[in-house]
């Protein structure tokens, strides 16, 4: 994908937002209790790239004693970046594999998968009637796998959000991984791409 360098600086700003926002050291606060009402999301999510949209916005929940996070995300690719307008709805699950606590932040290695739905023009939920049975399987849904890391910072009390997470992931579509497995020695490293994002944690009720 063509990538404008100007975005690099925006991304750089997003990733280091905690530093600019003067994130403070208070690691006991980093993993505090979630909101009392179960349906209220724990955090807002903003992601750049990662095969789920140019920019994606969503909300998510932490569960399994903070070891897992599940999100619902809407992603958009403008025509300028995709040569087509693309809307994507994604359910994403991230699991914490390893966690290191530092007094300024927590650093975690993560892994997970997402399932995306794209109601596009020539991609089908239900195959149109003109096709015989079994001609195609629905091609509007795809899965991604990823490995990543995240930094979690407690926020200063003067800010609305309780803590901030920044993450960086390397991902590939499940289809691409399958292609690479059957490609044997003809496999390609081009199936992998990157994503960066932010989680803004709501204050406790």
């Amino acid at each position: 994908m063509a990538f404008n360098k100007g975005y690099g600086f925006i991304l750089l700003f997003i990733f280091f937002a905690p530093v600019f926002l003067n994130a403070q050291t208070d690691s006991t606060n980093v993993y505090s209790q979630k909101a009392e009402k179960w349906y209220v999301p724990d955090y807002l999510k903003l992601q750049f790239a990662g095969n789920i949209g140019f920019v994606s916005l969503g909300a998510g929940y932490s569960w399994w004693n903070q070891k897992a996070q599940s999100d619902l995300i809407y992603g958009y690719v403008p025509e300028y970046h995709g040569n087509a307008r693309i809307h994507t709805f994604t359910q994403k699950n991230t699991f914490r594999l390893i966690n290191f606590e530092h007094r300024d932040f927590d650093f975690s290695v993560t892994s997970g998968f997402s399932v995306s739905f794209e109601p596009g023009q020539n991609s089908y939920v239900k195959i149109p009637n003109k096709y015989p049975d079994g001609y195609y399987s629905p091609n509007c849904v795809y899965a991604c796998f990823f490995l990543g890391n995240k930094l979690t910072f407690a926020m200063d009390k003067k800010y609305y959000f309780r803590k901030l997470e920044t993450y960086f992931e390397i991902n590939a579509l499940a289809d691409y991984i399958f292609y690479n497995i059957i490609a044997g020695e003809e496999r390609s490293s081009k199936i992998f791409s990157f994503a960066v994002g932010l989680h803004f944690f709501f204050p406790d009720n």
Partner: protein, 271 residues
Amino acid sequence: MQIKMKNFVGLGFALCFFWMVSCDDLFEYSPYAANVKSSYKNLHINNFNKLYTNTAPKDTIRFAVFADSHYNYNELGKAVEKVNQSPEIDFVIVNGDMADHGYLKEYELFHDKMKELIVPYFTVIGNHDYKSNGESIYQQMYGHPNKFFTYQDNSFILFDNIFWESNKTPNMSWLEAQLKRSNTSNYKNIFVLAHIPPFGEQFTDEYEELYRGLMLEYNVNLSVHGHLHRFIFDDYYDEEMNYLIVESIMDKEYVIITASENEIKVEQVKF
């Protein structure tokens, strides 16, 4: 100490980011995106230039036809290697379905293998190539799906005959115009290459008759197809008009066609 640690981590991430933003290709927004990178655009133009460079006149030409590679990059890579070992082949035609879901990544991985060919290659659009935003990707990479070219006094018509995925009917008047032009120019042979055979499931009876009639009327020497994932080479309608269906690359097979003024030889190559 605290500041130093932050700076250290910050510096590490900053370096990663500067490395990332200084390279293309590291961020992907959707598998359905159709923003073809410049190095993958207009490949047919380079290939035509390559075909017409330093060609001395000759009586016999040889070309290979691949079909239906989909996502079988291992077999495709092996086929490319095999063609590269045959110096007498002039070019390769891929008879459709080089993608599977119509994803940009599939088109890219396909070209990454095909660019290893010593000889140029040309493509016919297949039904899978139309899926998702495949049509737009195809056009950016290979130009209009309907193409006409000549080589050593042989006429080649690459024809888009996809009905369902393209949401249109094939442009039969364009096909007829190219056939007429080929006939009046007295070429040694006329080859029509189209992904779906006229007896394939997407053709209506009306279009099947129309296609069959054109082949006979303009004395086409060979109508070459893919799509069925099996090899067929016969006079399908028993009217002295040969139809060749090329086996899928995934089954480790392609064909080599040798053509001179009086003879067309079709050879199955297994690898």
